[in-house]
Structure formats: C-alpha cells, structure tokens
C-alpha cells in the first residue's frame, strides 16, 4: 500500500528539484552531515561513558577490592560476595539453560510438525524476548521462591536468569541449525541414518559453534542484569557469601552490588567504588564476548 502512494509525492518532488537544483547540492551536504553527526552521537557517548568509568574507578581497584566483603567504609569495601555470586550464577545458568535451549531449538527446527501449535510457539518465543526482565524476577520470586519453596536463594536467582535468556538461546540455536546446508542432513539419511542420528551426529556438530556463540552472548546479557535477580532475592550483605556455591543459600551478584553502591549516600561509594565494581563487571563481560568472537572466527570457515 505504501508502495502505491509514493509516486503521487514524487511528481511534486521532481518539480521542486528542478527549480532548486543549485541550492540543492548544499542541502544534500547538510542532510548527509546531519545523518553522520547523529550516528556519531552513540559512539561519542560510549567513549565518554567508558573513559568516565576508568577515571573514577581505577583508584579503588586494588587486591583488597577483590577479597573484601562490603563494608560501611568505602576504602575497606570489596566485591568478593558479588564476584563469587556472579561466577556461580554464570555456571548454573549455563548448565541449565544450554541443554534446554538447544533441545528446544533442535525440536522446533528439525522435528516439529508445521502446525498451528508450532507457529504459536514461535510467536510466543518472539514475544517472550520482549517481556521486561523485571517481570522474570517477579515470576521467579513467586513461583520458585514461595510456591516451590526454594526461598530467595541462589537457585531461584539462577532460574530467573535461565527463563530470561532461554528465548534468546532458542532463537540463536534455530538460526544456526537453519544455516546448515540441507545436503548434510539428506546425505546422512541417504546413507541409512535415522532422522535423529542425522541431526545428532551430522547437523548438530556443524551448527554447534553458532549455538555456542549465541549462548555465550545470551549468558553475558544475563550476567549484567540486575533487575530480575534483585526481585528474585539477591542481597547486598556479606551473609550472601557464606558458601557461594550452595544452591540453597542467599546470594549476591556484581550488578546488584553495583546498584547498592550507587544508591548509597556517600559520594565515595556512589562514584568511585561503584565505578570500580563496574570496571570488574565490564571486564568479565569483555572476556565472555571475546570468547564468543574467537569461537565465531575459528569456525566461520
């Protein structure tokens, strides 16, 4: 419909364009400059943000910052509880979300009959990706913490993040499986493999690097999320760290701890300590993203 409506306005444009052909060169330049400038805004903001964090946070980064628990004094405070909590969450979320996500992707891409139900499922996955992360926190707080009685513990937080990133992993997995040439599957079938063997032994290994990359990227998104685990029960204090790997203990995490620092009234916490925490978290994220890029580059041939 939009296609049909365009010629009407273009005839008018031609007339205008012919009248003002001289001035229009300058207008063209200005328009392009405006576009370039707008594109650069995002880039400039990113640089300002990173420089600001490094400048503010670097002075607070020392060994004690990694080995101390939180304290009321900014010079004594540390992120030990948050860092161990985040690492525990990362491992747990990966262990739970990866098999379920890959299983769903294989099913939807290779085995699911094309019925209304599958289409509904696809649509549903797309919609789930747009649900605010804090709502997943509400789901986990009610369902896992109270109804299933896990309490506001590590496993509840991990499950909140699992539900949050499952749609992302499923979509990434489906894309990777779809990108495998169908001839590989057909070849295996022609040699007498069952559909399951063809997918499991032939298609999946080819698709795996893509799936892994997608999973790591999804995981790095989950690790930076504060809202869902805050609602699901992450805590700030050192009692979160009695046993960082214990599923049924309270837990802390880096983003939640940064939130706590930023909310404190003293400027030393709000600016310097928070920035130091952010530096550590961004470094963890950088490591994960680099791993994803290395994987992608190694297998992209």
């Amino acid at each position: 419909m939009t296609l049909l409506s365009t010629p009407r306005s273009t005839t008018k444009d031609v007339a205008i364009a012919l009248q003002t052909s001289k001035a229009s060169t300058r207008k063209e330049r200005l328009f392009q400059l405006f576009l370039l400038f707008s594109t650069l805004v995002g880039l400039v903001i990113l640089v300002v943000l990173l420089v600001d964090i490094v400048v503010d946070g670097f002075s607070s980064l020392d060994l004690g910052f990694f080995t101390d628990y939180t304290s009321r004094r900014p010079e004594d405070t540390g992120i030990r509880a948050g860092l161990t909590g985040t690492l525990s969450l990362m491992v747990l979320v990966a262990l739970i979300a990866f098999p379920i996500g890959v299983g769903s992707a294989i099913y939807l891409e290779s085995f699911a009959p094309r019925t209304w139900f599958t289409r509904f499922m696809q649509l549903n996955i797309t919609n789930l990706a747009g649900v605010p992360s804090v709502v997943y926190g509400l789901l986990a707080a009610a369902l896992f913490a109270y109804i299933l009685n896990f309490g506001r513990t590590l496993i509840t937080g991990a499950l909140a993040l699992v539900l949050l990133i499952l749609p992302v992993i499923i979509v990434a997995g489906k894309e990777s499986i779809k990108a495998v040439p169908p001839s590989i599957y057909q070849g295996a079938i022609a040699l007498g493999a069952t559909p399951w063997q063809a997918v499991y032994k032939q298609v999946l290994p080819v698709a795996m690097p893509g799936i892994l990359t997608g999973t790591i990227l999804a995981l790095s998104r989950a690790i930076g999320e504060a809202a869902p685990i805050l609602v699901a029960g992450a805590v700030f204090s050192r009692r979160a760290d009695s046993e960082p790997w214990n599923l049924t203990e309270p837990f802390a995490a880096l983003p939640v701890q940064i939130f706590d620092f930023v909310k404190r009234p003293q400027e030393a916490f709000q600016v310097e300590v928070a920035a130091a925490g952010i530096l550590v978290m961004l470094f963890v994220l950088l490591l994960m993203n680099s791993a994803a890029i290395v994987l992608r580059n190694r297998y992209s041939k």
């Binding site: 939009t2 364009a17 990113l46 605010p132 804090v134 709502v135 805050l230 994220l285």
Partner: protein, 284 residues
C-alpha cells in the same frame, strides 16, 4: 517437550502475576486502584496517608518513555538511514559493532552514567532548583540512549530490504538523493520502522535499573521532566528492597503493578510483530 517450555514460561508469568495480583484486589478495590491519583502503599491501610492509585506510576513511566523516544527515534532513524543509504561497507562494518556494544552495556552501568554524569550536567545547564537530584529527564535521556540500537538496527534492516529498483526509478525522475531517501525509501520501509519504534518503546517501559537509580522514588502526577518521579519498574525494585513478606499488601501490590507492566509491553510486542510480518510479506 523441550519446545513447550516457552509456553510454560508465558503461562507461568500470567498465572503468577494474576494469582498474586488477585490477592491484592481482594484487599483493595480495583476502581480505587485505577482512579485514585496518589500512590502511598506503605504503612497502615487504615491511615489517611495510605493511598493506592496506580496512576502516578503509569504517568511517571510514560514521562520517562516519551523523553526516551524523543532522543532515540530521531537519532536511531538518522543512524539507520546513514548506515543503509550513505555509509560505505567499511564504515558500516565499524559502526555496527559499536552499536552492538552500546546495546550490550548492562543497564545498571547506564544508571550510574545517568546519576553521576548526566544529572550534574543538566543541573548545570538549568541552574537553581529547576532540576531535582533525581529527575525524569536524566533517566529518560539515558533510557533513550539505551534504545538507540534497537531503533537503528531494525530500521536499518527494513531500509536495506527496500528494492534497489525503487531508488533507481526515483533517480531517473531526477530526484536528489535526500528526497529519494526521505520520500521513496523511507515510506516504503515504514512498517519495519514502526515496528522498531514500538519494540524500543516496550524496552523503555520495562527498563528498570536506570530509572531505579536516576529517576527517584517519589510517585508524582507530574509531566515536569525536571522533577522526581517513580515508574512502575522503579516501584517494584523499591518495594522488593524492603523485603516485603509474602501475602503482605506491599508484596501483593508488586504483582498488581507487574500485571499492568506486562500487559503494556506484551500488547506493544504483538503490534510490533504484526508490522514486522507486513514488511516481510511485501519484499521477501
């Protein structure tokens, strides 16, 4: 079996929100919830200061969202047009990862950015007491920055999907490039562009950490961007911070607010999907 986990998640969300929300509406009249204009849900319900109208939270959310969109829509669309119509492949390859990095920055970091850098900056521009320490403007601007990549990348996809023949036809009629872009390519990509804006709007409404850090904790019926507000997501974080016990009015109110939040974003997503599908049908 594995595939149905997504359905179960959706059903779980709906079930949990509504079952916990129903507890709330058995204590509080649903009419009061939607029509009262003050939100003071803490303390004794018998007290006169206790008010339970959700409107201030919705107004706060919409104020932040409108500010965010007025940043992200022009900048995001300009970026999309530049990348799709003007940039060389080399520049495109350099700019797109930067947008991805921007999209991948945890929102708690952007909240820090809003509170410690953007707020002092705008308080300098408008001296005096016109801008509170916590204010909707700062939070909205940074939420806008957060959703630029959403607008830019989806719009860029739909601009790039417009067939080259349309551009050529426009050039052959003598139109300069800017008119071709604005009056031919842009309208042809409109459904994808609308979808990108709706998705970005959903993300702005659901954004939590930036507003929890920078917008404040004072629910107010105001459209003044310089004043402190509270959004729906901001309230959820604040109420949870008080470790409300299950069954208490405060705990139940989180889910009542959650229902509105979920419905608003879910409806936006469904409409956005409809527009995405339309642009796919036209060109693919």
């Amino acid at each position: 079996m594995c595939g149905s986990i997504s359905i179960l998640t959706t059903l779980g969300i709906i079930y949990v929100l509504f079952s916990e929300g129903i507890n709330f509406f058995s204590q509080i009249s649903i009419i009061e919830f939607f029509t009262d204009t003050a939100w003071r849900p803490f303390g004794d319900p018998e007290n006169d200061a206790f008010r339970i109208g959700v409107a201030p939270l919705v107004v706060g959310t919409l104020l932040v969202t409108v500010i965010a969109l007025s940043v992200a829509v022009p900048l995001g669309l300009a970026t999309a047009i530049y990348l799709s119509e003007y940039a060389s492949k080399r520049i495109k390859r350099k700019v797109k990862p930067v947008l991805e990095i921007l999209a991948g920055i945890p929102t708690v970091v952007l909240g820090y950015f809003a509170l410690t850098l953007v707020t002092p900056f705008i308080r300098n521009i408008f001296p005096g007491d016109t801008i509170d320490i916590f204010n909707a403007l700062s939070a909205g601007l940074v939420v806008g920055i957060m959703i630029i990549p959403t607008v830019a990348s989806i719009s860029e996809d739909s601009l790039s999907a417009v067939p080259q023949s349309l551009r050529n036809a426009s050039y052959s009629l003598g139109l300069p490039k800017s008119s071709t872009v604005l009056r031919v390519v842009f309208p042809a990509a409109l459904s994808g562009i609308i979808s990108s804006i709706l998705l970005a709007m959903g993300r702005a409404i659901g954004e939590t950490m930036i507003v929890a850090i920078a917008a404040g904790n004072l629910p107010s019926m105001t459209l003044n961007p310089g004043s402190q507000v509270q959004t729906m997501t901001g309230y959820i974080v604040q109420a949870v911070g008080g470790e409300a016990s299950r069954g208490s009015l405060t705990y139940n109110s989180i889910f009542a607010v959650g229902i509105i939040l979920f419905l608003m974003t879910f409806i936006l997503n469904i409409i956005a999907n409809y527009f995405t599908k339309r642009f796919r049908e036209v060109y693919e």
